[in-house]
Symmetry: C2
Subunit: 505 residues, 2 copies
């Protein structure tokens, strides 16, 4: 137990503030080191002659800031990160936020809010009730119980048009996209085989094999010739349109799954349907609820045009519903999938609502495609871990998943408001866009600002930001993606003011 | 709580037997229905005036048989399966085993023995100590903590030559093989590109593009031409040798990952090295510790020849260590990987030691290959769920994983002995092979027996069996794979005697 000497001035008011400040200083000056255990709030309150609520408030604030970690059954301890970056904070004692403790991805949720106790209870419930047989190899498409709960949830909350048979449980959106592209690409070669036999008429070009085997590496060329003669059983490729700008992280994954990518520009109403139609794409990957990174919501007229395009051309829309649970300023917009379940495949996960580390997500697709995805998964990793699937089903069934979302929606809204307010006050040159939903905003910089140095300065101030230029196919104004999920509302003003002071303007 | 009227004849002895029989009858005749909760063993013992141990023994037996389910914190209830198949058991009241409650795969472990309480404690410990940051997107290669525990475990128990940097955590052996084949295949095209440019000398055959575009489908042919001009960024293929006979379930997975398969025969000393060398394979997938399905252990001289072959040709050996934890009659044989860590990639999982439903496994590979596998996984699903990775690390760290293995080794050895004894007594025509390790034996049938009808009869008697003929490339004598992990020792004689009576001989 850490030995604490805190000085509190009762007359000055803001007692929780004072306690938090004293504790911060104790960590910063090494009086409290990483892993040190703090007194229980009840004890500290008694020692200081204060009410327990005040101490709890101070602890909670420091947990939110990343100074402390509150552990189920293990009390409150000093976070490793808090002391690791002690040097940096000593250089700048006024701005304790100037340490990158707000997480690695700008769009990650607040992981301090992960409901550890509730998750443990769900695991306990699962282990107490799951028949032993369910611990065997399961359905690669996912546990029926979870698909039932999720189908009901998606119908209710996202206005999706799904049944358990349309759903495949996957290891997050990344795997969902990988499997879906493989399933879609796998179906093309059949049609292609017919067209190829047409194109090649009399078979393989006579001299091709001869030319190829002039080299020495005849043996290794077998697969190559085999591909030409018999493309059908090989995984195929599919022309897939992505939004411009788009999430960089998904591109290697889409290519690896079999997508040949073409970029289609996004304007202030969402994806440009004319450009999409001209792209020759058979599949398009969209983020209609909250475009990544611009935050644009797909306009109603565009939604209609998009579905018209898909229906006429037989194209498939992949709807990445990555942060749709968090919508702040207006009624929820149902997913596209609910409008055209035959043409839209909905992909989602718990990475924003609970934690990315759970690696749990879903794909809602037409039954035939869902079956293909399930089969592809059966030839890849045989499905997701079963215990955690049942734990998530328990969370949804009991309503606790909804309660967690409501709680976090309120919290994130407050954090968004605080960041937007701070930016308007201290950095009015920045145009803030895309704030109606999600866990990030799109900050457009003045034309003459340097995106790279701005992002570096913002990161040094503890903001979770990413550059937009690398996400662009066509050039555009300098801009940042700025996450607010991990930035406590009461810290936003400090952090942004410091950023404003440091930017060379 | 179920209302129970059990009649026990104290003078007759075998009290636990009597209780078990009474309870079985109560289930079969509907007095106890699925989900009905049984009295606590202490209460029932008191009611009957017996020692508690006798009641516990009866309950445990019925749990092992699948009649009852024992749930952490929720007591003992009647299993759904027990009443579902009531009709079948009423047709044949003498042989309650004649229901397929012994699991779906012949080689699945006894899932009633999954240490639920211990697993829950590991999850609790993880949730109490894991920093919030660890709930974010993690290392796609797996949590460092688990890789450290596993490396030490594999060095100690399997004589593997690994460090945490050689290890990638994967979602089971299936995914481990998929990723490894992708990583190995992905490295070929680079070499191939060079050979191709050599072979093609002056570029693409002039008339190829023209011939291809004579057809109408010019647009779709783009990918095809692109493949010829630029094979490098495409996933490649690799010629991979598999054992004959081999596990059927892995073949589609290996093909999907990029393997062109060639079968190499297995004799009583393991894989035929001459045939392997003649196959032209660059990679071979083996089960050296306990060949699947024959149960043959790779002979010491073959091990040496195999490694010699790989070293000289630069080939890679994939060592599927699927059931090596269970070795009964002799000292453990270290894995091949420990002999030639540069040429051997070791793949294993907890599917036999804990449960397939956990979907947790590992690949130990040369550091460079491990890094490729990690990258391939980063472009697929971003890694395994983190909480369960830490839970497994906790199980290994505390020694409870070893204790569970020791306990199950004793249990499985007793079950194997019972099944082997029963086969020798009631079906002496069957030649039993491959019993020194693992969770199954290889039962060679007389030449004139029909494999298909024998397997059907054995399944109808409740045995976990599979046909071998579909696993063979070259023809061989009729044979069955027979799992014993889920067959309680005290039931083996009954089941096999019934099978012997039913087989038309």
């Amino acid at each position: 137990m850490a030995d604490l000497h805190l000085v509190v001035d009762r007359a000055a008011g803001g007692i929780a503030d004072q306690i938090a400040r004293e504790l911060r200083e104790a960590v910063r000056h090494g009086r409290l080191t990483a892993g040190a255990r703090l007194p229980a709030s009840r004890e500290l309150a008694r020692d200081l002659g204060l009410s327990r609520g005040v101490v709890v408030e101070a602890y909670e604030r420091l947990v939110a800031e990343g100074f402390l970690i509150s552990r189920v059954g293990a009390g409150t301890v000093v976070a490793p990160a808090a002391t690791r970056s002690q040097d940096a904070s000593e250089r700048d004692p006024v701005v304790p936020a100037c340490r990158p403790y707000y997480g690695r991805r700008s769009t990650s949720p607040d992981l301090n809010a992960f409901p550890r106790g509730r998750w443990l209870a769900a695991i306990r419930q699962t282990l107490a009730t799951l028949p032993s047989d369910a611990l065997d190899y399961g359905d690669p498409g996912g546990a029926r119980e979870l698909r039932e709960e999720l189908a009901a949830y998606l119908r209710r909350v996202r206005a999706a048009d799904v049944t358990p048979d349309n759903l495949v449980i996957v290891g997050g959106v990344a795997q969902g996209l990988y499997l879906t592209v493989q399933a879609l690409a796998g179906r093309l070669p059949q049609a292609l085989t017919e067209r190829l036999s047409e194109a090649l008429a009399g078979g393989l070009p006579q001299d091709l094999e001869g030319r190829l085997s002039q080299g020495r590496a005849v043996h290794d060329l077998d697969w190559f010739v085999d591909r030409i003669a018999n493309p059908a059983p090989r995984p195929g490729r599919v022309r897939l349109a992505v939004e411009d700008p788009t999430s960089l992280r998904q591109l290697p994954l889409l290519r690896a799954a079999g997508a040949d990518l073409v970029a289609v520009r996004v304007d202030e109403e969402g994806v440009d349907i004319g450009a999409l139609a001209a792209s020759g794409a058979r599949v398009v990957l969209l983020t209609p609820a909250h475009q990544y990174p611009t935050g644009v919501v797909l306009a109603p007229c565009r939604r209609a045009e998009l579905i018209e395009w898909a229906t006429v051309t037989g194209a498939t829309i992949l709807e990445d519903d990555y942060d749709a649970e968090f919508r702040f300023d207006r009624d929820p917009v149902g997913c596209l999938q609910g409008l055209a379940p035959d043409r839209v495949i909905l992909v989602g996960s718990v990475s924003k609502s609970l934690a990315p580390g759970l690696r749990l997500g879903w794909v809602a697709a037409p039954a035939e495609v869902a079956e293909s995805i399930r089969q592809v998964r059966g030839e890849l990793d045989l499905g997701s871990p079963v215990i955690e699937q049942h734990a998530l089903a328990d969370l949804i069934r009991t309503g606790d998943y909804d309660r967690q979302l409501r709680r976090m929606r309120r919290e994130y809204r407050a954090r968004r408001d605080a960041l937007v307010r701070a930016l308007a006050e201290h950095l009015p040159e920045i145009t803030v866009r895309g704030v109606s939903a999600g866990l990030h905003l799109f900050a457009e910089l003045p034309r003459n600002w340097d995106e790279l140095s701005t992002v570096e300065t913002a990161q040094a101030c503890g903001l979770a930001v990413e550059r937009v230029a690398p996400m662009r196919h066509a050039p555009g104004p300098p801009a940042l993606v700025m996450g607010f999920a991990q930035l406590p509302a009461h810290r936003a003003d400090d952090v942004v003011r410091t950023l404003a002071e440091r930017l060379p303007r």
